[in-house]
């Protein structure tokens, strides 16, 4: 399925084709924990900062552990209009992934992941 998407795109589109689209608007500019960071505590304070204003009450954060189990994160209020905050406690040592979905103030939806590892003593 992945042999020809690039070369067919211009010619196909020149002949009324569809289009392979990617979509990006609100982008993550920094996060705590950072992507692929190692956290030395069972409690992880999360803060995700974006390049634009977001509608925080309509954004979601979920956490997936190594076993693939996913659970939603309860978000906290942030003073910044471009930030999502949450706390996850009692995390066992291992790899985790934060999956975020944000609704920017201009109506665009974007999503992404931040991976981190808990390695507490």
């Amino acid at each position: 399925m992945t042999h020809l998407p690039r070369w067919t795109a211009p010619l196909a589109l020149l002949l009324l084709g569809g289009s392979p689209a990617a979509f990006a608007h609100a982008i993550l500019i920094r996060s705590t924990p950072a992507d692929h960071a190692i956290v030395q505590s069972h409690q992880v304070n999360m803060a995700l900062e974006y390049n634009s204003r977001i509608e925080a009450t309509r954004c979601t954060l979920t956490l997936t552990n190594l076993a693939g189990k996913t659970f939603p994160l309860q978000m906290e209020r942030s003073a910044m209009p471009s930030e999502l905050k949450a706390v996850a406690g009692n995390l066992a040592n291992g790899n985790y992934q934060i999956h975020w979905q944000v609704l920017a103030s201009d109506g665009h939806i974007t999503r992404g992941d931040v991976a981190f590892t808990v390695a507490a003593q």
Partner: protein, 548 residues
């Protein structure tokens, strides 16, 4: 769900494009009809005649805008409800929802009121306020962290100017090409005073709009890029360059039309008709710019993309001409093909990883395909020029070169399907991607049939001759409209640069061929050279295409 996740971005961009286009058409129409056309319907027969057509266009724009807003709100809401666990009640106060409701309310009211009276009075201009507010409220400016208000004002001015100038053009065209716009006095056709007055008013308004549009656009571009590296090194910048290039072309056409209006003998209907035909290309390029603007709204501004920007040496290295690749890796060397479901799942979960699967063998396969496609388009362009001389009339068969492209596409577009792959011919029709490629082939064949018949005078219909430019321009517009690389991956962006160049050439090729067919004698002569040169440029870009 996976299909939904995969197709959401494309649907959102296309709906955004339709929204901007309908919005401009509606605002431009309202301003044109209620502020620029003189209010003397009883004394002006031609204006009375053209108004039903203008009103129909206004209604189409209002209905189209309302419908696309409903679809956009439904799409965003469905996305948030299905993936974010939200309920409808949680979404009704979201910005996009309120903006959508405002537009639907405004367009519905417009449709109801315009049933009983024509939008001929300045009070109809009040509709511009909600329409413009809604689009500004869902623009980049609304979500900026700094200078939000001033950026929203600039965006409003930019969009209003675009709507008045570009959105008003189709109404001007209706007025210009309407057949009843002259009276016969003493054997000479004389255009109606009201028509001439409307044309002059539009011309002045368009000039002011163009100045406002460029000034506001330049300021916004400066804020959203801040540096040259964000202009040439990000996906946002690449679309911005494409949009600016087309705007330069449009300003050139606009200047030509402005001079025609200022110096032309507007009381003579043929002069008006000439301006009208000239403005067809302006309308086409103008709305293509609006579609490219939709692509921009889906990109994060270049200033925010500080990582993975392309550098000038990287761009130069990729664009430096290399000898094309004329040997292909064997089909058996291509990696095993994933089942369709798995490929889509991978794409939905991690689009960047899915794309990086294009390994060296696949790259070689792809480059070989691009380079042969380049040869075909290059030959077509050269033959189109050669065919102008009577001694080389055989070269007018140039559209047949594209038949070779269709065969090439049929053989190599889907190497996993018949005749190269294990999947049977009929079975491949069940695969959406294969089916898509088969449709492209069908389109190429039909376009070849039309243009070949036109070039060799087998088909005399003026409408048939417009198929090639229309397909070319529309294809280029779609290629520009589609959104570009996610996360600004360098390789993706380098590929997009080639595609954007191809799209621009296609847009200019389409509209110059259109001008050749529809324009005045002098315009025809210039336009007749532009489109074959554009074809040659597309061929050259394809010949120099590389993926690493």
């Amino acid at each position: 769900m996976i299909w939904f996740l995969r197709d959401y971005p494309l649907a959102a961009v296309l709906l955004r494009a339709a929204t901007l286009a309908f919005n401009s058409l509606l605002i431009g129409g309202i301003v044109f009809c209620s502020a620029l056309v003189p209010r003397s319907p009883s004394s002006s027969v031609p204006i009375g005649k053209v108004f039903p057509h203008a009103l129909r266009l206004l209604k189409i724009a209002a209905f189209g805008l309302g419908a696309t807003q409903i679809l956009f709100v439904a799409l965003d809401s469905a996305m948030l409800m299905s993936t974010g666990g939200l309920h409808l009640v949680d979404l009704v106060t979201a910005n996009y929802f309120l903006a959508g409701v405002l537009v639907v309310f405004a367009t519905s009211t417009f449709l109801i009121l315009s049933r009983s009276c024509l939008p001929r009075r300045p009070r109809w201009l009040l509709f511009v306020i909600p329409l413009l507010s809604a689009t500004v409220w869902t623009s980049h400016a609304a979500s900026r962290l700094e200078d939000q208000v001033s950026l929203m004002v600039l965006t409003g001015l930019h969009q209003l100017a675009a709507a008045v100038w570009i959105g008003g053009m189709p109404y001007l065209w209706l007025l210009l090409v309407s057949q009843g716009n002259f009276d016969v006095t003493g054997g000479e056709a004389i255009a109606d005073d009201a028509v001439v007055q409307a044309v002059r008013r539009y011309s002045t308004t368009a000039l002011v709009s163009a100045v406002v549009l460029v000034a506001a656009g330049l300021t916004l571009a400066t804020v959203y890029t801040e540096s040259w590296s964000a202009v040439y090194g990000t996906a946002y910048g690449v679309v911005l360059i494409a949009k600016s290039t087309m705007l330069a072309g449009l300003l050139l056409l606009g200047a030509g039309n402005f001079l025609l209006i200022r110096k032309g003998r507007l009381h003579l209907p043929p002069a008006l008709l000439r301006i009208g035909r000239f403005s067809e290309a302006e309308i086409g390029i103008g709305f293509t710019i609006i579609l490219a603007a939709a692509s921009l709204t889906g990109q994060p501004p270049g200033v925010d993309l500080v990582q993975n920007r392309l550098t000038l040496p990287e761009i130069t290295a990729r664009m430096t001409p290399h000898w094309p690749r004329f040997h292909t890796p064997p089909v058996r060397a291509l990696p095993a093909v994933d089942p369709m479901g798995l490929a889509i799942r991978q794409y939905a979960l991690s689009p960047d990883d899915a794309r990086s699967a294009n390994n060296r063998i696949e790259q070689a396969w792809s480059e070989y395909n691009h380079h042969w496609a380049g040869i075909v388009v290059l030959i077509a362009g050269l033959l189109a020029i050669l065919g102008r001389w009577d001694r080389a009339s055989w070269a007018r068969h140039w559209p047949l070169a594209f038949l070779g492209l269709a065969i090439f596409l049929f053989l190599r577009a889907d190497p996993e399907a018949w005749p190269l792959g294990p999947r049977g011919f009929w079975a491949s029709f069940y695969n959406p991607e294969d089916l898509e490629h088969r449709l492209y082939i069908l389109l190429i064949v039909s376009f070849v049939a039309f243009e070949w018949s036109v070039q060799t005078h087998r088909l005399q219909s003026p409408k048939a001759s417009l198929v090639f430019p229309a397909v070319c321009a529309l294809g280029g517009a779609l290629l520009l409209t589609h959104n570009h690389s996610l996360g600004n991956v360098k390789e993706e962006l380098l590929t997009e640069m080639s595609h954007t160049a191809i799209a621009l050439c296609a847009v200019f090729a389409g509209w110059s061929r259109w001008l050749e067919l529809r324009g005045s004698e002098r315009g025809k002569r210039i336009a007749a050279w532009i489109w074959p040169i554009c074809l040659i440029c597309i061929g050259m870009v394809l010949l120099n295409y590389r993926e690493s």
